[in-house]
Amino acid sequence: MGRSETRTRLRTLLAGLLAVLLTLLTGGCSAWSGRVTDVGAIGGTRVEGGTATMALPPAAGPNWIFPIGAPGYLASYNGALQNLLYPPLYQPVRKGGTLTMDNPRNLAEPPRYGDGGTTVTVTLKKGYTWSDGTPVTTGDVKFWFDLIKDNKKEWGGYSPGLLPDNVRRFETVDDRTFRLRLDRAYNPAWFTANQLGQNVVPLPRHAWNPRNESPRKTFARLLGHAKRLSAFATDPLWKTVSGPWKIERWSTSGQVSLVPNRRYTGPDKPHLDRVVFKPFTTADSEFNVLRSGGVDYGYIPPSVMAQAGRFKERGYRVDPWEGWAITYIVLNLNHPTTGPMLRQTYLRQALQYLIDQRSIARVVWHGTAAPTRGPIPAGLLARDPYPYDPARARRLLAAHGWRERGGVLRCVRPGTGPDACGKGIRDGQRLKLSLLSQSGSTETSNQMQEIKSSYDRAGIALDIRQQPLNTVLGTTVPCKRTEPLCSAWELGFFGTAGSWYFQPAPSGEQLFATGAPSNMGNWSDPRADELIKATEYSGDPAAMRRYGEYVARQVPVLWTPNPAYQVSVIRNDLRGIDQNPTLTLAPQDWYFVKADKKAGRG
């Protein structure tokens, strides 16, 4: 080990230090070149034309164009782009704090339910045509239905018992009207939102199946085309569209450029000449491009919210994009050791009382998250049943026989009485939990540290293990008590960008019903099952609220602040953007404004 090696080592160290300093200088103090002509957040004169560039989420390159999504290709950005080329019959739209399916851009009139809710009749609106001039007919809807019916295992959106299983017969009434005969009566609002909405998409039968091949053969052929990413812009198959946009370019790296479909016959014709969706490998690279003015509609990490003023000074508006979602820590009720504790409702309530959602949302998430109140979006629930109240949590635990010894609560009254710890909890058992949380996010890490700190003050020991998201998702799966997998985790968190995104109707059949595929914590409550069924089958508009309030009180998971899908930064002169909570896009509504008589950009 000689002098030269020492010099090399020191040079490397100093170079590292220099790199850090340069990063700080260029990152924190450099001039921003992305200043735009600020016309203010309101006002200005609308101009037609121009190109708007939107940043896609990090490592999210659109890679699927076929409206029947294959498993593994169901990402939100794929669906959002497909909707612009092949719009579904019904799309949700935000009205007030909730979503409705009464959207002016729907391709069909509102569905009519008959025979006690066992049939649904749909009539397509007049005048819709494909981009080659052929009218959109019920035959195009039947084409879609036959494809998913005969290939349901290959359809990523398939859930047993739901579409197409719950449709006994598809009847064509005429060119614009069809009727579905269902296997039982359903809640019309639920069926329209979660079955017809976003799922049913007319497909160009005349262009995609001119030889009238069988659905299986056709599907296999279309799937072959859908896997050729490099040919999306050139393949004649994808040239026939019904939506307001058509493809101009689609690079294999995921950059997509759309131009208006000039033969679009819907009410929402595009104002822009072009819209570009730009992919990024990391959030940092996107942030740098945003600051240099390379995108008109981008996003910033929550930690930069303190700098929102700097963006506003430069002619941008900062607008968190809130998803139709909830966020929570999953509790493994089947864990052999901690399961008996977590199965006690009073204990789950105490754990919830100790989570200061408001402070976490304000400080840790920099105001870009909102408290989750229960199993449905917060706006649909009147109040938070368990606001932060550490004193109440301590009283609740003390009333059930937990005493602090050596800094940790221990059960001193085992048994099943009203003042005892509860079934399966041993005498002297410590209230010690382990949380498996996703890594890679400062906000998530800080949130967990805050919860751990709060629990520690109450005498609850919480160990935090951080692992990559895929590891957490692969570990926190539904399990039986006897399975070794059930011992691998106690509490789990995978909600850095929201734990669960709902379909338009936020029912719980996939989330909190007994045995549901996404019921990771193995929660089972007959009363909750009844209420969930009511949201699916009964026509009572209060069913959803009743389900939400009941499950919120039961605390099957620990509710934590629901972060925004992204904190958007948008040029002030780009208008018409409605950040839909279901993460769909409508760039046909976007337009530029100018402050004076000068021509708009473009």
């Binding site: 020492t6 080592r9 930690s303 890594s439 890679g440 967990m448 540290q449």
Partner: protein, 300 residues
């Protein structure tokens, strides 16, 4: 009658230890390194006793206070921890893991290299091919993979880092052992019936101790950097424990907001401790170098 003759007393020759100390004390960068290390150790391990702070419970009401705020000379972190206190406790983790991993790697590498070099032949060839193969795999890649599989703790981090860091000292000591095994005292030991184990642990390793000690300092510096790398990648000891790497990683999140006090203190601390160990190692190398000792003595 006079004495048949008198011999004037020759000046006493200092022993090798004193000669090494003399060379070391004349090496100003090495001395500075030693002083900085002692100061950092005192800061990290004695500091919390003099100025105790709560580094377990968060205080969201005091998050991100700038330096100079009442009671917080270096400000607070994004969770309201006192930054000065966190720098001390974070330093404990970095230094403890760095020291333990560096020493463990040196120990394993020394024994492995000495055995391979002394016994030679097919055993040496096999052991060194294993080392070459392991060296071909990028250390950081291995560290990240292992740290992803297991939950890092101080002992686990120490083992993970030592498991990839022992390769370099193994090759170095093997070279020393190849030279030492042909020395007369080793032959003599063999003629008197001494075995391989005695040769390795009583003759080869003690006579290569200078190289071992110098290498240990560099291993410690590298281990501290490895801890920082892993923490920077989010593979640190779970919160609320901290180390300088994880503090730096958190601070970088706030680069755009200008919270410089979350970045510079841990960054400077890492640079200081690694530079100090490097200078110290360099000084020790010179101190143990017999030729350098002679040259400097002759110059006197």
């Amino acid at each position: 009658m006079t004495a048949a003759g008198s011999v004037s007393a020759a000046p006493a020759t200092p022993g090798p230890g004193r000669r090494a100390l003399a060379v070391f004390t004349r090496d100003k960068p090495a001395l500075a390194g030693a002083v900085v290390l002692v100061a950092l150790m005192a800061f990290c391990f004695l500091g919390p006793l003099i100025r105790p702070t709560d580094q377990v419970h968060t205080d969201l009401g005091r998050a991100n206070l700038p330096p100079g705020s009442p009671g917080h000379p270096l400000g607070t972190t994004d969770l309201g921890y006192d930054m000065l206190g966190r720098l001390m406790t974070g330093g404990q983790t970095s230094l403890e893991v760095g020291l333990a991993a560096g020493l463990l790697a040196t120990f394993i590498g020394t024994v492995y290299g000495a055995v391979a070099g002394y016994f030679g032949g097919w055993l040496d060839a096999a052991m060194m091919r294993i080392t070459d193969a392991a060296l071909a795999i990028p250390a950081l890649f291995l560290l990240v993979v292992v740290a992803t599989i297991v939950t890092p703790s101080k002992p686990v981090l120490t083992l993970i880092i030592a498991s990839v860091a022992w390769l370099s000292p193994a090759r170095l000591i093997r070279g020393e052992a190849l030279a030492l095994r042909s020395r007369d005292y080793v032959h003599a030991m063999r003629l008197m019936g001494g075995g391989g184990t005695r040769a390795v642990f009583r003759h080869i390793v003690p006579n290569a101790i200078g190289t071992v000690i110098v290498n240990a300092t560099f291993q410690i510096a590298d281990a501290i950097l490895y801890v920082a790398y892993l923490s920077f990648l989010g593979l640190s000891i779970p919160p609320p424990a901290a180390d300088w790497g994880s503090m730096l990683s958190t601070g970088i999140t706030y680069t755009q907001v200008g919270y410089w006090w979350l970045i510079f203190p841990p960054g400077i601390a890492i640079v200081l401790v690694v530079a100090a160990f490097t200078f110290l190692g360099d000084g020790l190398r010179d101190a143990f170098d017999v030729r350098l000792q002679r040259t400097r003595r002759n110059r006197r």
